[in-house]
Amino acid sequence: MSEEIIKAEGLTKVFNGHLVAVDHVNFEIKKGEIYGFLGPNGAGKTTTINMLITILKPTEGKASVLGFDVLKQNNDVRNVIGVVPQEYTADEDLTGIENILLCADMYGIPRKVAKERALDLLKLVELTDFKDKRVQTFSGGMRRRLELACGLINRPKVLFLDEPTLGLDVQTRSATWNYIRKLKQEYGMTLFMTTHYLEEADSLCDRVAIIDHGKIVVVGTPEDLKHSLGGDIITIGIKEDADVSALISKVENVKDVKKENGTYRIKAEYGEVTAPFIIETLRKKGYTVSKLSLTEPTLNEVYLEYTGKSMRDAEESREAMWTQRMTMRRARQ
């Protein structure tokens, strides 16, 4: 088998003939890695995942999972993947174990095998004590863990996670990350996930693809991406109404200056040393620095660098918004 677990070539989805949700994306996902799509709502993340899990037909291009074509061999794909959707799909009226067994039945797993696996999985996600409780009574974190367990019932080789921690509070979120890491370690699974949480992509993903308006803007490990910015980010504002970009860029170690919304984003090496120099230079010319901040780059800076804007939501369909609101509301129960 090739090392590429998932491969997409020119994958495109156009809705209603004009709305381009995913625009000729190419990517390859290697065995055993956690690969993340990072981007704002409406960037095309869920659309991509839906094409890979065979519930949406690509308009153009092709993709394969473990060598199976998502269009022509969709049933083979379905057998070897696990899916943890953005929504809480577990049935509220059923108990935890009933939900897992329902998933097992959809894969046609014999009842005896399914029961054994279900108990193992419940232990893995630490829901054994709640297995006979109705899902109605579950908290957001518990529901998410139950979804994880359901997604693993067919022993998938690849697991797809769509916004795995949407709506969860910070603590539950990092607990959920630990479960996901455990999966990767214990089962050597390949994971494809989408997220619009920068810190999630940073802490969980081996490689991140930043996606914006249906296009992959850049791909790399979180470290490489941050490193590619070439240093720290100094943000300053001046009192005077003037463009001092040219002046700043002459300071030593300054690599780049961008003016946006009246402040300057300066990329510089050795930020803590360079910042005083910049202030000094500006003061000599009679400008007053009114604010200053120094940050080591995060994925947010990477995002800004490659898309030219802060991560914010693009326009989305009514249906997608409803889905997300619903998920968030149930996560907080």
């Binding site: 799909t89 009226d93 249906e319």
Partner: protein, 306 residues
């Protein structure tokens, strides 16, 4: 590739699991379950007993109307008794002629059974939309379960639910005074459930096919409102078609509800069961179920995946 995940290859795997999921949502929720039992009782009481058509033709009523009529010479006791007997016969005759049974409540109760089947299945369209909105549909679609099975589990669960409710109606109707036909045989009950199963499969496939791509709750509701009442009243469920205007008779002739109700009446309450027309009823409703269910499943292959 799939040898080690334990999957079986049957095309129908998951059918019972998905059907049972729907049924569990119903019988495990005490409120919904109780309501679904109370509802037919209410209908039966209201429609069945309130519309007391028998009373219109009662001999007392007719004699009252004739109160002003003074005959000379006055009627003898015997003649009066004869006249009373004539009116009694007239009532039974009119009822028999119109409804094929002397008891309107019995006629109505059977209409009620069809009515319940229609309303229970009408909700199957809603549950598809609901599953789509909650993401369960996508989850199911990402598994190897066949697309036809996803749709057919909805159809099957709606059919089983309405057959259960129909059973309750029959029991209540008997308690309320349903009069079985002279040729009634307990085995006919099986025939009743048979035809109910067919009509439910047809109807719920129809409602699902209409709403299969819908993402909003309003669509199935509008469809329900639009379709259910005409289907009900352009049939023989509450009133015999033979005395309807001819255009309505034509409509009723194509309405599968007409055939369902006819079969159930033939089997349960008619004084003599005409097996020829029961066979026609089964054939027509069976064909309806087959065609619509096929359309539903073909649509599900084409449209469940966008």
């Amino acid at each position: 590739m799939t040898e080690n995940n334990g999957s079986s290859k049957s095309k129908l795997h998951g059918l019972w699991a998905l059907t049972n999921r729907e049924l569990k949502k119903w019988y495990k929720a005490p409120v919904i379950f109780t309501l679904s039992i109370i509802q037919p009782i209410l209908w039966m009481g209201l429609l069945g007993k309130a519309m007391n058509i028998n009373a219109i033709f009662s001999p007392d009523k007719i004699q009252q109307l004739m109160g002003g009529l003074v005959l000379t010479p006055p009627l003898t006791q015997t003649q009066s008794a004869q006249l009373g007997g004539f009116f009694q016969g007239l009532q039974t005759g009119i009822m028999q002629n119109t409804f094929h049974t002397s008891d309107y409540f019995s006629f109505m109760a059977v209409g009620m059974i069809a009515f319940t089947a229609l309303f229970t299945t009408a909700f199957s369209g809603m549950s598809v939309v609901w599953d789509r909105r909650l993401g369960f549909l996508n989850k199911a679609l990402s598994t190897p379960v066949s697309r036809g099975v996803i749709v057919f589990s909805k159809v099957l669960s709606a059919a089983l639910r309405s057959m259960f409710q129909a059973g309750i109606i029959i029991v209540i109707a008997i308690a309320f005074g349903l009069q079985f036909g002279a040729s009634f045989n307990p085995l006919y009950i099986l025939g009743v459930f048979g035809i109910l199963f067919l009509i439910c499969v047809g109807l719920s496939s129809m409602f699902i096919a209409i709403t299969i791509r819908s993402t909003r709750m309003e669509t199935p509701m509008a469809v329900m409102n639009l379709i259910t009442l005409p289907l009900m009243f352009a049939s023989n469920a509450f009133f015999p078609t033979s005395i309807m205007p001819s255009w309505l008779q034509t409509v009723a002739q194509f309405n599968p509800m007409t055939y369902t109700t006819d079969a159930v009446r033939q089997l349960l309450i008619y004084s003599s069961t005409d097996f020829g027309s029961v066979a026609t009823d089964f054939a027509y409703v069976g064909l309806f179920a087959l065609v619509i269910a096929t359309i539903g499943i073909v649509l599900s292959w084409r449209f469940l995946n966008k």
